[in-house]
């Protein structure tokens, strides 16, 4: 429909949110924006179903709407709550048209209601209103940003204020600290204003110049510390600087004289800086008292001078005046003197030690003093140890400082010294390595006491002089040593030489020439000629040795060789030498050495070698092994036989332990070795040897001591017992075998002879019986010999044993008499056995065997018709049995060996008495097995008495203990 004279399109363009309601309040037309955002507001809908009248508060009725036509109304869309602001206008025929637009209070509501600013027509102020709202929001946000910015700036400002306040406080503290630092610095710090009045004066300045801060501040600097003679120069310099800016002293360290409050002048080091103030120029000065430094420099310089003078001096007496002048000049002494102790007065041969005398070696004085009586007296006088100033100092061994005016008793020259104007005397002991050598004296004209540091500094000068005296002595000793060496060279056929490698020229002394048979001038002293004189075989040795030395490979040359004598024979020499001078690059310039004629020694060595070869040949051809040991049982030398027996090469054995070859021969302990050696010396010992392959073999070892140039050594020889023991074993095997093989047929023979003699096989003719008797007797003897041999073999092999028991001796005697009775009767020898009731502890059969043997021997060696006696007696725990005959006896020489096997008193006895020579050996073995002893003594009146002992019955004899 049209309204307001507008076409629908115009109406929609101007009022996109308009709607038209009919008289029934149903919507008949709506604007395009309205249709878009609230589709429910469709044509035909009842107005009351779509909107609620929000303002004014009134039901949405036709009457209410008619009543408020033309008034501002606010409708609220029931769907979504979108408020509309506008007015109803009559549109004719009872219809109403609403002209308005959404009422939004915040731009954010646009999105909520899906609206755009273009939904509002340009004439609608709500659009502008929303734009302004948006602008307001942006401005508010900007305001918030600005507020934050200002807050940050405020905080920064506060921080800056705090920093400034802190800086101000720090500056105040720094200023206080600076003042404290300046007070604490080692330098005096002074500031002055433009008219040279003091504005700051630190603690050190108080100490250096003697003025307090309160006294100094505000005063003229010149008045306080500058010597009067420099006032004008100081004022001129200040004025020039203030006028022209010229600053000769500013920023530089200079040394100037300063004045103490007391008037004393002293050197100071000064650094001045200009200070530009707010209103005027000022100056600051760092001042350091350098009195000690200058004093030390002078002291050091004087020490250097003394060292330089002494270095170039030969004798102290020549150097002393220069030393004194230097020390006095540097340190401000007016005079000085050196006193030395007269060494000849200290010790007098044969008279002991007497007091030493101090004599003035040298004195020096400045121009004012040199001609004074004091110096004349000093130069000429001497004084005994302990007297005067030098003597007292020497005695005390401590520096002495004397106020001349106050002291006369210790300073005899004090009157002359006072006359010369001397105020102080200083004396220092001159000693080295605890030996007192003398004293040094110095004299001062100053009123002030000599500074202690200067006096102490002089001590080092006394040490330098003392060291020089020592060096002087050493050089004198060296000269003497050289003289002695020359004498030694002359007496020892030792010549000297030197040559110059660069030119090949050299010199040799007369002793060298004489050694080679030349006169002076006959021998060309060049290396080329020397090489031609050497034996061709020795020349390479010399060349190699010298080349190695000249290249620095070895420290010295020592080489032996032959040099041709003038008459053509060769002279053996020992040539020793070394480089004694080198250039800056280390190349040798001069080589020096000695030449010693060693021909005699070489001949002796040759002879010794020949002798050694002969001895060696003898040793090597010996069948026995020989060895020589050092103190640690290591082999020094062996012969070939030793090496061969033990399976070694003789060259590999020196240095090896003898224990490897003779493991049980010697103790491995050094101390035990000596004892073992002492016990074993000269003894023939049986030990085990060990071959290189580990095999053990028996050896016979004999150790002995030999005296050599290296001291006493242990030597020994070794014999391999293996062949002997093998032979012994074969012999025993043979004897045993033969004995057993003989015994069996012999038993059969005896049985057959018994049958014949008993007539069991028929009666034999008388002449046959006689032959049979001979056969039976010889079979019996043969059987006895075989029995002895078997017994002896058992003894030898350790198989012989006994079974002792307590038995009556009489039964044993009777048993023996039964056996020997026939033999005695045939020999017409009577056996007289003394009855005895003694009992013995013995093997009855073996004891019987002993008695039978002894009685048989006694019968055999007794002349016919004689008597053999058998007696027994108790000897404490033993029973002694004695068998005495009246035969020819046993010679004394045989008594010790008659009990050895195969021994008889005479060789003819074996044939005459048909024995094997084993009987007594068997007896001894049986007796010893019982613990007893056996022996033979001559029988008084002729014959022999064989005796033995047996344990008495009831005596429990432990054979092992006895043995």
């Amino acid at each position: 429909m049209t309204a307001l004279g507008l076409t629908p399109d115009q109406l929609s363009g101007a009022f996109p949110f308009h709607f038209v309601a009919g008289a029934d309040l149903r919507i008949v037309q709506a604007g395009p924006a309205w249709v878009r955002v609230a589709p429910a507001t469709c044509v035909g809908a009842r107005l009351a179903d779509v909107f609620r009248l929000q303002r004014p508060q009134h039901p949405l009725t036709p009457e209410a709407l008619q009543l408020h036509v033309g008034s501002l109304m606010v409708l609220e869309c029931l769907e979504g709550g979108l408020p509309l602001r506008g007015q109803f206008m009559a549109a004719g025929e009872g219809s109403l048209i609403f002209l308005g637009s959404p009422l939004l209070r915040d731009p954010s509501e646009l999105a909520q209601f899906k609206l755009s600013l273009t939904d509002w027509p340009p004439h609608d102020p709500v659009g502008d209103y929303l734009f302004l709202l948006q602008g307001r929001d942006a401005a508010l946000e900007n305001a918030r940003d600005l507020s934050s910015h200002l807050a940050r700036q405020r905080d920064e400002l506060r921080a800056s204020v705090i920093t400034l306040e802190t800086s101000a406080r720090a500056r105040e503290r720094a200023e206080r600290r600076a003042e404290q630092v300046l007070d604490g610095t080692l330098d005096a710090v002074i500031t002055i204003d433009s008219v040279a009045n003091v504005t700051f004066w630190n603690t050190q300045a108080e100490q250096v110049f003697g003025w307090t801060r309160a006294e100094a501040v505000g005063q003229s600097l010149a008045h306080l510390i500058i010597p009067e003679r420099l006032h004008a120069a100081h004022a001129e310099g200040m004025g020039r600087h203030l006028k022209t800016g010229e600053a000769r002293l500013l920023g530089r360290r200079v040394e100037v004289p300063a004045r103490h409050r007391t008037g004393r002048e002293f050197p100071v080091e000064l650094t001045i800086t200009a200070m530009a103030g707010d209103d005027a120029v000022g100056f600051s000065a760092f001042v350091r008292d350098v009195t000690i430094e200058r004093r030390n420099e002078h002291l050091l310089r004087s020490q250097h001078d003394v060292a330089r003078i002494l270095t170039s001096a030969q004798q102290l007496s020549a150097a002393a005046p220069a030393i004194l002048e230097s020390v006095c000049s540097q340190l401000g002494w007016a005079a000085g003197a050196i006193w030395l102790k007269d060494r000849r007065s200290v010790s007098r041969p044969g008279q002991g030690t007497g007091p030493a005398t101090l004599r003035c070696l040298a004195a020096w004085a400045d121009a004012a003093l040199t001609a004074t009586p004091f110096m004349a007296e000093t130069r000429t006088m001497s004084m005994e140890e302990g007297t005067g100033l030098p003597g007292a100092t020497d005695m005390e061994q401590a520096a002495t400082v004397i106020d001349v005016a106050q002291c006369d008793h210790a300073f005899p020259r004090h009157a002359l010294a006072l006359q010369a104007g001397i105020r102080w005397a200083v004396s220092l002991p001159l000693s080295v390595e605890e030996e007192s050598l003398g004293t040094l004296e110095f004299f001062s004209l100053e009123t002030a006491r000599p500074v202690a540091e200067v006096v102490e500094g002089l001590v080092s000068i006394t040490r330098q002089i003392g060291q020089f005296i020592l060096r002087e002595r050493s050089e004198r000793r060296l000269v003497a040593e050289r003289q002695r060496l020359t004498l030694a060279l002359e007496g020892g056929a030792l010549g000297t030489w030197e040559f110059f490698p660069a030119s090949g020229d050299g010199t040799i002394d007369e002793r060298c020439l004489a050694m080679l048979g030349y006169q002076s001038g006959e021998f060309e002293t060049t290396l080329r000629h020397w090489a031609m004189s050497l034996h061709p075989h020795d020349l390479p040795v010399f060349q190699v040795a010298f080349d190695r030395h000249l290249s620095g490979e070895i420290g010295a040359v020592e080489v032996e060789g032959r040099v041709r004598h003038k008459d053509g024979h060769w002279v053996w020499v020992l040539d020793r030498g070394r480089v004694i001078e080198q250039d800056a690059d280390g190349k040798p310039i001069r080589v020096s050495g000695t030449l010693l004629d060693i021909s005699a020694r070489k001949r002796a060595e040759s002879a010794q070698r020949q002798n050694d070869l002969r001895v060696r040949a003898m040793m090597d051809n010996l069948l026995e092994g020989l060895f020589i040991l050092d103190g640690q049982q290591r082999i020094l030398q062996v012969n070939r036989a030793f090496a061969r027996k033990f399976g070694y090469d003789s060259k590999e054995l020196p240095g090896c332990s003898i224990g490897d070859m003779l493991p049980d021969a010697l103790s491995t302990d050094g101390h035990a070795l000596a004892a073992s050696y002492q016990r074993s010396m000269g003894q023939v010992l049986q030990r085990n040897g060990r071959r290189a392959d580990g095999a053990i073999f028996p050896v016979e070892l004999c150790l002995y001591e030999i005296e050599t140039s290296d001291g006493r050594l242990v030597a020994g020889h070794v014999r391999d017992l293996s062949p002997l023991q093998e032979a012994e074993r074969l012999k025993k095997q043979f004897v045993a075998s033969v004995s057993h093989e003989l015994r069996t047929p012999l038993t059969a023979i005896r049985g057959a002879l018994g049958l014949l003699s008993s007539g069991a096989v028929g009666v034999l003719p008388p002449e046959s019986s006689e032959v049979l008797d001979v056969a039976e007797r010889n079979v019996g003897r043969l059987s006895a010999i075989i029995g002895d041999i078997l017994d002896f073999e058992r003894i030898q092999s350790g198989l012989f044993s006994i079974a002792p028991a307590d038995i009556p001796l009489s039964s044993v005697v009777q048993g023996a008499l039964d056996v020997v009775g026939t033999l005695a009767r045939e020999a017409d020898v009577r056996i007289a056995a003394t009855p005895s009731d003694l009992r013995v502890r013995a093997d009855e059969a073996r004891l019987t065997q002993v008695l039978v043997n002894l009685l048989s021997n006694a019968v055999k060696f007794s002349p016919a018709g004689s008597e053999v006696s058998l007696t027994a007696s108790r000897q404490q725990d033993w029973v002694e049995v004695r068998v005495s005959d009246r035969g020819r006896g046993v010679p004394e020489a045989l008594r010790s060996i008659i009990f050895e096997p195969f021994r008889q008193a005479e060789q003819s006895d074996a044939r005459r008495h048909r024995g094997a020579g084993l009987g007594l050996a068997i007896c001894r073995a049986i007796v010893q097995q019982h613990g007893g002893t056996i022996g033979v003594t001559p029988r008084p009146g002729g014959g022999a008495t064989f005796w033995f002992t047996m344990p008495a019955a009831g005596i429990a004899t432990d054979m092992k203990e006895i043995l």
Binding site: P107, L110, S116, L117, G127, F131, L132, Q134, A138, E141
Partner: protein, 184 residues
């Protein structure tokens, strides 16, 4: 020139060249203001001076800087609460361009001393238009080019801008092509 423009210059320099560069530019331009007030008007010379100083300090031509300021200004202003105002200008790039003049008229309500430029469009199609620019200030055409590019980015359309000959009384005429948006 309102503070909002100077703020955009400041933000661009600080973001891409650092605080020290901005302080140097301010010193060079003789500007001693710590913070620009968005709604406060500042002399146009100050803005010119800042641009000239930035050109000297950063070694870039003033035109390039102005174009960059224009593009950055769009984005910066949108972030600083004016995005909703832009949205009021239209739901699409084309609509916004058509409402540019209306937008400035509304802005003038809140910025009473604003001397807003005038914009109008001719030869409008769905993908192109001629933008006519007229202003009492001279030399800001490069900034306008940047502004249009920034709007293209804001509305997510590809934009090409070709300067055209301007009629008398006009500062510039730009031929602007753009890709249509679905809701355009």
């Amino acid at each position: 020139m309102y503070g909002l423009v100077n703020q955009a210059i400041e933000d661009l320099v600080r973001t891409h060249h650092g605080d020290q560069a901005w302080e140097a530019i301010k010193r060079r331009a003789g500007v001693e203001i710590d913070a620009f007030v968005t709604m406060e008007g500042y002399p146009d010379e100050m803005s010119y001076g800042l641009v000239a100083a930035a050109s000297a300090e950063l070694g870039a031509p003033a035109e390039a800087l102005l174009e960059a300021f224009g593009e950055h200004w769009t984005l910066f202003t949108a972030e600083r609460g004016y995005g909703a105002m832009f949205k009021m200008g239209g739901s699409s790039f084309k609509e916004f361009m058509l409402n540019l003049h209306s937008l400035h008229s509304k802005i003038a309500l809140g910025f009473p001393r604003l001397q807003p430029p005038s914009f109008w469009c001719t030869d409008v199609t769905d993908t192109s238009l001629h933008l006519h620019y007229q202003s009492a200030r001279q030399g800001f055409t490069p900034m306008l080019v940047g502004l249009v590019r920034g709007l293209g980015r804001m509305y997510q359309v590809d934009v090409t801008i070709t300067p055209q000959a301007a009629a008398a009384g006009e500062n510039a005429v730009l031929f602007v092509t753009f890709t249509p948006t679905p809701h355009a």
